[in-house]
Amino acid sequence: MIGMLIDVTKCVGCEKCVAACVKANGCDPAAADRDRATSPDGLSADRLTTVQPIGWDHFAKKACMHCLEPSCVSACLVGGITRSENGAVVYDPDKCIGCRYCMLACPFHVPRYEWSAKVPFMKKCELCEERLADGEIPACADACPQNAIEFGERDELLRLAHQRIGENPDGYIDHVWGEHEFGGTSVLYISDADLAELGWPSPDTESIPHLVEPVMHATPIVGGSVLASVAGVNWIVRRRMQQMHGPDASSNGHGGGEQ
Amino acid sequence: MQAWIDFAMGPLFAFSLGVMALGLLRHLVLQLDTLFRRKRSRLKYMPWNKMLHDSLEWALPVRHLTSGNVIFSNASFVFHIGAILVPLFYAGHIVLWEQWLGVKLWSIGNGFADVLTVITILAVLVLLVSRIAVPRLRAISRNSDVSLLVLILLPFISGFLAAHPAFNPLPWQTMFLIHLLSAEALLILVPFTKLSHIVLIFFDRISEIHWQLRPGAGDRVAETVLGKEAKV
């Protein structure tokens, strides 16, 4: 269960993490440069992470939050997005059909689409899957000169977060963003400024799969009962028609349009 | 003005070329359809030889140039040579074909193109005067026969003037725009008027209406004009 802890008090907004991310994911630097100005929040298919200003002197890195109960994983109709064993939410381009439901489903507006490509795919942070396999840490955490991005086990990071808040209660708001919101996220934030601007809801917000999957799981029951009741009604009506008109009557309802 | 020229050389040119190409293709397909339907029906006889013969004869109509209405026939023949060579192979047009169709054609010399253009213009004038002044021709000429000749005259004259600033009484851009617009109007009209004989001439023998191009077949056209279109 890996994760990242982003300390907003340490971030100076240099965007070295963005540069490292662009490089690590093989994105086009020129397009990343352009999208910084054109994308409303700075994320795009060529900028999988961005630094958003909060007020005028705070900055926060934004990318996929790697939710513990991800809405996109639940939404993807081909199961192309999965939560891997280490907690990273990863995408399988071989399954994707390009429906973009994940983009609608994500409460953080994270998934981005390669709109200009003729064979487009979804793009988002995958917690540097390949670098982790090589024993390295994610590129952004590696590049940060301020050590504002801590990478490690989520439990460790949570302890660290509370420790930092405890050591310096005046320097932080006593809240770890991502601990409970939407059922918890692997990317955690601590800050001395309110992060509501980044789209964080209130802490007791339920995870979206938790909200909708019970409805989805009721489907077979609904379907089965509709099937049974329609078939039952059909049988009753046919029987009564047979009783009233004799055996032929039941099949002439089909004649339809003859006038 | 430049914006208009850009539009006429860009989208409008693509449009008119598209209408002409699709229109001629449509004529071709529908004619072939008629042809095969005819073959399937009782009319087993297909005048292949005649079709070939007629097509070749129109390519080199020696017989008509020496007898009948000699002036008209010769003017028409000369006009067709100019009308095919100049639009396709004039040096200035080569650039356009290359830009839009990706084919690089050979060009004819500018001097030759000039002479050919003047001859073509004169030939069209002869045809025009004949259609208006000669009573027999006038009787079988429809309004569209005359107005199409005028429309054909426009791009030739404006093109010639645009290429020869010494004779050009209008600013170059105006003349060039007239050239573009009139030529494009002509391209668009091809599938809808008798100009479609570009394709249909080969099917002359089997068309349902025998639109006879032969001199002497004008009586049938006259019938059309007078509304006696019995066979449809």
């Binding site: 349009g257 | 003005m1 430049q2 650039v95």
Partner: protein
């Protein structure tokens, strides 16, 4: 004969329009695949779902519910007036779902993988369920329709088998339909933060299926009325239409008096509309209940935003007005009023889906989405194709009636004609390939030139900065694309270092005539694109005046002053500097030769002006700091670049990328 004439008259214009839309749609479909989603649609990361998914798919499926509802009423319950509408209802469902699925192929990014959900499962996804149910239901509608098609095509044996199985198909179809119509609503349950509170309801699934049932019945009533209007007005519109076999041309008027006999099929339309209104009244109650029980929806409605107005309009059209209208007795007797009621409800249903799927997200997206021309053309192109298929099937198979049996198979032959086009159009080309192809040859090129993305490309935004005023300042902060990464340029210091006023031409390599130091942005107007700075029209006059040319129109003689060769094109023109070396202080430090018509982008103009000098001095004076990006960009460099990168390398990188 009169009947035949009427037939062609009433549907001809509609079919013409449908053909035109179809051909335009084909062009747009081609462009969509050639240029990709980004260039052809107005969708973006904030608005990932647009017209094709919401209007074509979700509204389309909702309007096509009559297939299963009328199937239930007619086929399972054997209710009297509805059993006659089963075949038309199934046809509407088949075409509606077919069109919806077809439109989806243009919407999804990788349409050749449309079959993936059959293989790769995610049973937790609503979209997965929708996909399975919709595609299976589409097959079911086809199987339900096939006996009708086979009737004309022969194959009596197969038809018999399919007819026997019809009951099973109907029951499976009802099950699949009720599942996917609820799930289409549940699709939006995953966006509690994003969908506007007025439409985000926990019972959205229930609202979706009930409104779809009601609106679908209404649409079928409308189609039945239109069918009668097109082919046989007396059946719905009553007896005044046809007098002794002569068609009354003014039947659209209000000449009816009270004694008009009712059309024999009017009661079918009335039954459909009344049944639809019953369902819609349940929908209305649910909607009101939803509004009352959810405080955030109440607040949103009372907020008086445009969403609340839209919500009221939608509810009026979808439920309130249809239900109220049906309560009025004269409305139930008039075919026109019934058609208006049905049309209103069907429109309201479609609007509801668009509200939920498009308008409801505007506030969250922070931007308005208006579909691009290509999106509209494909949307209506697909619908037009379905419309043409509808006309073809009802005219050639026994769907509404057996009309095709009575029609003579009149084969109109094409003939090359040079008659007046209008005459040909109105009298000769009534139907068939000839007429459609004539529409095609106008519409295809027209659609091409109006939709072709390169023709529509807007000119790059003008980033001209008011530098002329700034020239008086000692230090300039240059940030042409307003990204905050400004370069600090000590203008006065540079001037003094390089040799005072004499040194202006070092950088201001091409001033406007009679100007000593024209600002860079005067010509390098776009940040990342080249700008055409050559004014051909003006040059004609200038050259004629300067060279004192004669003739009727002096400008016309000016071509040969600049152009050589046969074709007068940019390639045959001489370089600007051949004439302007003196008056424009022209020195081009980059390569000694000026590009002829276009100024390079502002970005590369700046870099190409500063970097050569900086790198050279960094080496000769042994001052490596001169060669760093951060020397000028003191507030940071664009991401993707190392801060310690030397400018030299940057130039090389750019050259390699180009």
């Amino acid at each position: 004969m009169s009947e035949l004439e009427l037939t062609t008259d009433r549907t001809q214009r509609i079919k013409d329009v449908l053909w035109a839309l179809t051909f335009a749609g084909l062009v747009a479909m081609l462009l969509r695949f050639v240029f990709g989603l980004g260039a052809t649609t107005n969708l973006d990361d904030r608005v990932p779902w647009g017209l094709w998914k919401i209007f074509n798919m979700i509204s389309g499926a909702a309007l096509a519910t009559c297939g299963f509802t009328v199937g239930f009423l007619g086929h399972v319950l054997h209710l009297k007036p509805f059993d006659r509408m089963v075949k038309p209802a199934i046809l509407v469902a088949f075409l509606g779902y077919g069109a919806s699925l077809f439109a989806l192929l243009f919407d999804i990014g990788l349409p050749w993988r449309f079959w993936h959900p059959f293989v790769h499962w995610n049973i937790h996804s609503f979209l997965f369920e929708v996909f399975w149910c919709v595609s299976c239901y589409f097959v079911i509608t086809f199987l339900e329709l096939s006996p009708t098609l086979l009737e004309r095509l022969g194959l009596a044996k197969l038809r018999g088998v399919l007819s026997k199985a019809a009951g099973v198909f109907v029951i499976i179809g009802i099950t699949l339909s009720s599942l996917h119509h609820t799930s289409l609503g549940s699709l939006f349950l995953v966006t509690p933060q994003r969908l506007h509170a007025l439409w985000y309801s926990p019972i959205i699934s229930l609202l979706f299926i009930i409104s779809a049932i009601g609106g679908g019945l209404m649409l079928l009533a409308l189609i039945k009325t239109l069918h009668s209007w097109w082919y046989d007005p007396s059946r719905v519109f009553g007896g005044t239409m046809v007098r002794e076999g002569v068609v009354c041309k003014t039947c659209g008027g209000d000449s009816e008096n009270g004694a008009t006999p009712e059309g024999p099929d009017l009661h079918v339309v009335r039954a459909l509309v009344t049944a639809g209104a019953w369902v819609l009244s349940v929908y209305l109650l649910l909607k009101i209940g939803d509004l009352v029980l959810r405080p955030e929806a109440r607040a949103a409605l009372l907020a008086g935003t445009w969403e609340s107005v839209l919500y009221v309009v939608e509810l009026l059209s979808a439920a309130i007005l249809p239900v109220l209208l049906v309560l009025i007795k004269p409305v139930r007797r008039s075919p026109y009023a019934l058609a208006v009621t049905a049309g209103l409800a069907a429109f309201g249903l479609a609007l509801n889906r668009v509200d939920v799927g498009i308008f409801g997200y505007f506030r969250d997206a922070g931007e308005l989405y208006f579909p691009s021309a290509i999106e509209w053309v494909i949307t209506f192109g697909v619908l037009a194709m379905a419309g043409l298929a509808f006309f073809f099937i009802i005219e050639n198979f026994s769907v509404f009636d057996d009309r095709w049996k009575r029609l003579a198979d009149s084969e109109l032959k094409f003939s090359s004609s040079f008659d007046r086009l209008t005459w040909v159009w109105n009298h000769r080309l009534m139907t068939g390939l000839e007429r459609a192809s004539l529409i095609a040859l106008i519409v295809l090129p027209l659609a091409w030139i109006t939709l072709y993305p390169p023709f529509l490309e807007s000119t790059p935004p003008d980033t001209r900065a008011p530098l002329a005023v700034d020239a008086a300042r000692d230090t300039l902060r240059i940030d042409a694309n307003r990204d905050g990464l400004d370069a600090v340029f000590a203008h006065t210091a540079h001037k003094q270092r390089l040799g005072g006023e004499e040194s202006c031409v070092n950088c201001h390599h091409l001033s406007m005539p009679a100007d000593r130091a024209t600002p860079c942005s005067e010509c390098h107007r776009a940040m990342e694109a080249e700008t055409v700075i050559f004014n051909h029209e003006q040059h004609l006059a200038w050259v004629a005046e300067d060279k004192e040319l004669g003739g009727w129109i002096p400008e016309n003689q000016s071509c040969v002053e600049c152009h050589s060769g046969q074709a007068r094109s940019a390639a045959s023109a001489k370089a600007c500097m051949e004439c302007h070396r003196e008056d424009m202080h022209a020195v081009d430090p980059a390569n000694g030769r000026l590009a002829q018509f276009a100024a390079t982008s502002y970005h590369s103009a700046m870099h190409n002006t500063c970097i050569p000098c900086h790198t050279e001095n960094a080496l000769t004076q042994n001052r490596p700091e001169l060669d760093r990006c951060t020397t000028c960009h003191q507030f940071g460099v664009p991401e993707g670049l190392e801060e310690n990168l030397q400018m030299r390398e940057l130039v090389e990188v750019r050259i390699r990328r180009q």
